[in-house]
């Protein structure tokens, strides 16, 4: 590990918690807090958000002071491949049916790995798609259409 000025994992985690807490406080600002004996809907979320904020500040502060840890490099290919595959599935499932959505998801997900081979993936995708249709629609009766028409 190369020498770093900050403890990046701690710092990033702390910043993430602070952002979430701030978002929660913002989103619940319109809710009534109430008193302990008669709590309103905003009481618990706000209390938890404040605790999270404290945790976030603690980690961020520690990350700034302690130092010298890096984060392993982020590789774009896996996260993009898997992410886009899931996104495309979500877009297609209701309009295009399970068969097309599944096939597309398999192809795109396979692109996340450097080792995938083109024809193998096509064949495998067809097989898994057929299997998924049989398993989820025929056997488990998932209420979704197979084809777009």
């Amino acid at each position: 590990m190369t020498r770093r000025r900050f403890d990046w994992p701690d710092l990033a985690f702390g910043a993430f918690l602070i952002a979430v807490a701030a978002g929660a406080l913002l989103a619940t600002r319109g809710l009534a807090g109430g008193i302990a004996a008669d709590m309103g809907p905003g009481y618990m979320p706000r209390a938890i958000a404040l605790i999270l904020l404290a945790f976030g500040l603690f980690f961020a502060g520690r990350g700034l002071l302690r130092g010298h840890v890096g984060i392993e490099r982020v590789q774009l290919r896996p996260i993009l491949g898997v992410g886009v595959a899931v996104g495309v599935f979500a877009l297609l499932i209701e309009s295009a049916g399970l068969a097309l959505a599944s096939f597309a998801a398999i192809l795109i997900a396979a692109a996340a790995s450097r080792e995938s081979r083109f024809f193998e993936v096509i064949l495998f995708g067809l097989a898994v798609t057929a299997g998924a249709v049989l398993l989820f629609i025929k056997a488990l009766a998932l209420p979704v259409s197979i084809w777009p028409w």
Partner: protein, 499 residues
Amino acid sequence: MELFDNLLLGLATALQWNNLFYCLIGVVIGTAIGVLPGIGPIPTVALLLPFTFGLAPASALIMLAGIFYGAQYGGSTTAILVNVPGETSSVVTCLDGHEMAKQGRAGPALAIAAISSFFAGTVATIVIAVLSLPLAALALKFTAVEYFSLLVLGLFAAVILAHGSVAKSLAMVFLGLLIGTIGIDVNSGVARMTFGVPALADGLDFVPVAMGMFGLAEIIANLERPAVRQVVSQKLRDLIPSRADLKAAFPAMLRGTFIGSALGVLPGGGAALPPFTSYALEKKLAKDPSRFGKGAIEGVAGPEAANNAGAQTSFIPLLTLGIPANALMALMIGALMMQGIQPGPQVMTEQPELVWGVIASMWTGNLMLLIINLPLVGLWVSMLKIPYRLLFPAIVLFCCIGTYGISNSAFNVWLMLGCAVVGYFFIKVGVEPAPLLLGLVLGPQLEENFRRAMQLSDGDPSVFVTRPISAVLLAIVALMLLAMLSPAVLKTRKQALAE
């Protein structure tokens, strides 16, 4: 004897044909995912949850439980034969198990692992049956005050006994609690943090969260590492262990079962911690510790017994108190709630055939595992020949379909995607996602009981320490936290988890 009546009632449920069938499905799926590295029981159970909706509650739980302990068996098979732990709980089995295989003793190693697991599973079933009644009876006396303290104890203990930094895990629990408050507040009917999304009105579904953080995020992280080629070279000869093997293994098996049963009951317990503890103990007790790591049969028998016992006794807090000991049990709570059963001590008295049926099914399931694992070991090992480049797109797809299937909403698929990205971030910054799932599942119960307790006491928080049971529970929490801060305990914990 009430105990025998209950066990008989349970056996009557577990031995129904359809329940035997679902138990078999569960243990077969469990063994398969146990063998395959890169997919664990958590995403698998999450994936199958939506489809258990149409089953009877007992069948659903029997099947899901089978996946969990089936995975422990499968994990040890690959640990012994190819030095790849299918699950974290079988990491220790690699040490001596694979060494035995290299010496041409793969057969006895597999047999001892299976026998130890079966023995431990049988004993653990009895432990569950014996402990469940008094615990549930105690829990029935609980009011909102005690329940809140118990939930706090469960959450804290889960955090402290699990892997990783305690402070970070605690932060994750609170994060889970926070996202657990999303949705319509039951008391006032006001929407909280739904950002105008109607799909969020009922709160965040934990299945997409679990699948995103445990299933997809793991895959993304796995793909970043260079692929490992697995070579299966072992020819399996005689499976039967010799008399000397059995004699050496038996005491280790007994001790492993005891350790596993004890550690499994604790909140935060489960299948991961016991094998490590058992291995360390066997090494300490051995006359010649240098044999360990070079194919000592005790090093297989002890940890294997421990992980199976732990996997099963971690059901005790769930079945008796309605509190999950780990992330997987949190999913089981979800399965109960999907069946319209509010988890808690009352389940034991209101649905005895469900609880005892699940308990008894663990024994039938273990028997099935013994049969499907030993003779069919070659079949399972051949599953390892499926390359990861084909496996992972299929897992991604099944996660998508499973998530969509919970309520037929594309929103859940997007939610899973978001959770995958956040889960990947957690992996990168070295934070365990399991406590978040616990917080998410327990959050609504925690808030409900807290609010009710505060109403009862008229807003006086001292009620939690003036009621005796609650005070004891919270004192345990305080003790654990204090102990965690002491440097000596910190050091041994680090060693215990690192080993």
